[in-house]
């Protein structure tokens, strides 16, 4: 049946074992990279690192659970609030806001808090300080935090003594009290604005679980935060399921009053259907992307038109306006073609050629000589005219 079947066919697809053998090094490297990336992330979170800064519910080194518990033991009602509406609802003359640098407020929220009838304790590098504490400006650059002495008449500070202060130094408005100075500028300022006591502290580290036991940090924190019966402790809004730990009044009441967004109106199934469509697109991509066999490469011969060198020379002539060379080439070609027709040898002199051409065509020798043996044309139109005249001469010689 077959004419020539000497050569056997054989499979060149990789076997599963071959794929594993070739790919295992890559897989190994990938696994190492993933482990190297994941392990450092997992390890510190197991110990203490990922705590919430100055959070009354956080027991890590940067949290402030110890302070909140001590305050609670001393009869201060600590409300941990993660949205501004709840905080404003709870605000009253017998309450004090505690705004730390982790509470990310917008400018409008800051303004609403500043307008609320409650004292304000502002700790650390809080955004919109100019709104929350009008008239106060922070020095640019800040100062290092270390143990400092009060050096002022503020009762809360003198009772507490040395404390771990620093962070920002402030230029206080008139009528204010400044303590714990750094380079002459206070890092704790208390003043009264619109009947509300505003206390600004440059650094909140003295309130953390880490620093609370040092120096007079605990006393200072107690004195400042426990000034009013109720402390409204603003924390950033929770991303996950831990809604409100100590003060459970927030949550449902605030969100129910807000208007529904378009996202709430779309049924839940649509999102999942879009996910399903994404999967479908992925499958279609796999279908279209799978090639039926390898791409075939071929060694192709070079494609060079032989006339390219001539065209290049023509462009060079044109670029340099080389009329002399162009005219020379055209004249030489014409003479080469007409000389045999005139019966002239290759060695004929210009005079002989001109005479012979004139005799054959009847043209004026004085016109023929500059055309065949003259100088370069003055311009391009002269060159075109010369080429035309040479053609005419050649035709006349051929026709005669």
């Amino acid at each position: 049946m077959t004419l020539q079947t000497a050569e056997r066919s054989f499979s060149v697809s990789p076997t599963a074992r071959g794929i594993w053998r070739r790919g295992r090094a890559i897989v190994l490297v990938g696994v190492i990279v993933v482990i190297a990336a994941v392990v450092p992330v997992l390890l510190p979170s197991g110990s203490s690192g990922g705590g919430a800064l100055l959070d009354p519910g956080d027991s890590s080194l940067v949290g402030s659970r110890a302070l909140a518990q001590v305050l609670g033991a001393h009869g201060v009602e600590v409300q941990r609030v993660d949205d501004v509406a709840t905080a404003l609802a709870a605000a009253g003359p017998d309450s004090q806001f505690l705004i730390t640098e982790s509470a990310l407020l917008t400018e409008q929220q800051a303004a609403r808090i500043a307008a609320a009838p409650a004292d304000r304790l502002i700790v650390g590098d809080v955004r919109h300080l100019d709104v929350l504490a009008g008239g106060l400006t922070a020095e640019i650059g800040g100062t290092p935090s270390r143990s400092r002495s009060p050096e002022c008449a503020l009762r809360e500070a003198t009772l507490a003594g040395d404390a771990y202060m620093g962070g920002s130094a402030f230029t206080a408005p008139a009528g204010s009290t400044g303590c714990y100075p750094s380079g002459g500028k206070p890092t704790l300022v208390r003043y009264v604005a619109d009947g509300r006591t505003v206390t600004v502290v440059g650094d909140g580290q003295f309130m953390t679980n880490l620093r609370l036991a040092e120096d007079g940090n605990a006393a200072l924190a107690m004195n400042l935060a426990g000034a009013k019966h109720r402390l409204i402790w603003l924390v950033p809004p929770a991303q996950s399921d831990e809604t409100s730990e100590p003060g459970g009044s927030g949550g449902s009441g605030g969100s129910a009053s807000e208007p529904k967004t378009i996202g709430d109106l779309i049924p839940q199934g649509v999102g999942w259907a879009v996910l399903e469509l994404v999967i479908a697109v992925g499958l279609v991509a796999l279908w279209r992307g799978r090639r039926l066999g390898p791409v075939v490469a071929e060694r192709l011969p070079v494609v060079v038109r032989a006339a390219e060198t001539v065209e290049g020379r023509g462009r060079l002539y044109r670029a340099r306006r080389a009329r002399d060379r162009a005219a020379l080439a055209l004249r030489a070609a014409t003479i080469d073609r007409i000389a045999p027709r005139l019966g002239l040898p290759r060695t004929a002199t210009p005079d002989e050629i001109v005479t012979a051409v004139a005799a054959r065509t009847g043209e004026d020798p004085e016109q023929i000589r500059p055309a065949l043996f003259g100088g370069a044309p003055a311009d391009d139109s002269g060159l075109v005219a010369l080429a035309g005249y040479l053609d005419t001469l050649e035709r006349q010689v051929q026709d005669s």
């Binding site: 049946m1 077959t2 020539q4 079947t5 050569e7 056997r8 066919s9 054989f10 499979s11 060149v12 697809s13 199934g269 999102g271 999942w272 259907a273 996910l275 399903e276 469509l277 999967i279 479908a280 697109v281 499958l283 279609v284 279908w287 799978r290 039926l292 066999g293 075939v296 071929e298 192709l300 011969p301 070079v302 494609v303 060079v304 038109r305 032989a306 006339a307 060198t309 001539v310 065209e311 020379r313 023509g314 060079l316 002539y317 080389a322 060379r325 162009a326 005219a327 080439a329 055209l330 030489a332 070609a333 290759r346 391009d380 139109s381 060159l383 075109v384 080429a387 035309g388 053609d391």
Partner: protein
């Protein structure tokens, strides 16, 4: 493995289910799991590719411009039916069609598929791979595998100048004295005596023989036989330049519709055939003619080394051997080594022969390479240089009207002047020169050969 469009379609339909399901999250999971199960089932029940056995049958030779079919036999020794698509991959210039074939081989049976090759370029074309995608019973997914089924097809030069052969052979017969017009044979070798018939040239009457026979007897002549013709093909860089218009469309040419800029296409015409291919065409006609005329033809292709050498072929097999030897020759992008070429010719041609050198009349290459060495060759052999002229240069030389065209014309005339100078230098060395346009080169070379034969110069 490979998926089909059905898998994507099923997933898209799953989106509708998810949209109206009471628990959309679970529905997504369910649809994905169902799809995965179906795909796995399909993969399990698809016919295996690895055990398939392939073999080929069919032609191994094809002339450029013609088509050839190659049969591919698929044998399925496995337990499951192999149903799906098959791609027999060839290099692009092999012009394999169709690109993909349907295949359906029940277990234990074999099927024959055919692939048609329409090559667009000379040379050897090797089959690359055979890839089969075997779909499962649901048509959602399939197995895919590749086999190597060796086969090669040699694409021979088309010998387009064959059309000139009858006319040239008629001319040859005229020389032979066999023509019905009874023209006196113009050869130089004494053939035979025969009776005078009216119309014979009286100068060819052999008086001595007439006296013996008591009848008027004339001598007949015939052209010399058993002379040697050595065709030398220069495959150096000058033979790579493309001239004329390709009689058979090139694979590298984009289709007409793809050329967006018409003006650009007009200014830059499609590249034609390499000089090498035109030279081969001329060499084939010359070889065919010389073989009929009773001469021995040898063939040498040379650039910096011997690319091909053919000698001592029987007259009946000369042409087929010659095209076979020529087929894989490509122009090398190196300057031809003229001393080496002359040495190779001298080493191979012991007796006087006609050396036909197919090259280009490139002024610099000639002056530095061949011209100083020509006396060595022409003292022992008759040398004929044949070169393919470029019609584009001729068209440029006649350009008039605008300054640009006149500059181009000057450049073209410059080149033609160089060629004329080289030609006259060669003729002064006693070398015959044939310089013709691509379409005429074969015919012109054959005429030059016939003229030499008629003049008895071989």
């Amino acid at each position: 493995m490979a998926l089909t469009g059905r898998a994507g379609l099923l997933a898209a339909l799953g989106a509708l289910v998810v949209l109206f399901a009471p628990r959309p999250g679970l529905a997504v999971l369910g649809v994905v799991l169902l799809l995965a199960c179906l795909i796995v089932v399909d993969l399990i029940f698809a016919g295996g590719i690895r055990p398939l056995r392939f073999s080929r049958e069919g032609e191994r030779l094809v002339r450029l411009g013609q088509s050839v079919t190659v049969g591919l036999i698929v044998e399925n020794p496995g337990p499951r039916r192999v149903r799906g698509v098959l791609r027999d991959a060839w290099p692009p210039s092999a012009g394999a069609a169709p690109r993909r074939l349907g295949v359906d081989v029940p277990p234990g049976e074999r099927r024959r598929l055919t692939v048609t090759l329409t090559p667009t370029r000379r040379g050897d074309r090797e089959a690359v791979t055979v890839t089969v995608r075997s779909l499962g019973p649901l048509g959602l997914a399939g197995r895919q595998g590749t086999h190597r089924v060796p086969w090669s097809v040699r694409v021979l030069p088309p010998f387009l100048s064959r059309k000139h052969l009858p006319a040239k052979l008629a001319r040859l017969r005229e020389l032979d004295g066999q023509h019905p017009a009874l023209v006196r044979g113009q050869g130089t070798e004494f053939d035979s005596l025969r009776e005078y018939v009216v119309g014979d040239d009286v100068r060819s009457i052999d008086w001595r023989a007439s006296a013996r026979r008591r009848d008027v007897v004339v001598r007949t002549w015939r052209p010399e036989r058993d002379r040697r013709v050595l065709i030398v093909l220069d495959t150096g860089r000058t033979s790579a330049g493309r001239v004329g218009t390709a009689p058979i469309p090139l694979a590298s040419e984009p289709p007409e519709g793809d050329r967006r800029d018409r003006g650009d296409a007009a200014r830059r015409p499609a590249p034609g055939w390499p000089r090498l291919d035109w030279s081969m065409d001329a060499a084939l006609l010359l070889a065919a003619l010389a073989a009929r005329a009773g001469d021995r033809v040898d063939f040498l292709a040379y650039d910096r080394a011997v690319r091909a050498w053919l000698s001592g072929q029987a007259r009946t097999e000369l042409l087929s051997s010659l095209v076979n030897v020529m087929a894989p020759i490509e122009a090398e992008l190196v300057e031809a080594d003229s001393p080496g070429m002359v040495a190779a010719v001298l080493a191979r041609a012991k007796r006087r022969c006609l050396v036909v050198l197919l090259t280009d009349l490139n002024a610099t290459a000639m002056e530095e390479g061949l011209l100083p060495l020509l006396p060595q060759l022409s003292s022992r052999h008759l040398v004929l240089v044949a070169a393919v002229a470029d019609p584009r240069v001729a068209a440029m030389a006649s350009g008039r009207g605008t300054a640009e065209q006149v500059y181009d014309a000057a450049a073209a005339e410059q080149l033609r002047g160089e060629r004329r100078r080289i030609t006259s230098l060669l003729r002064r060395h006693g070398v015959e020169v044939v310089d013709a346009l691509p379409e005429d080169i074969a015919s012109a070379l054959a005429d030059a050969y016939l003229a030499l034969k008629a003049a008895g110069r071989l």
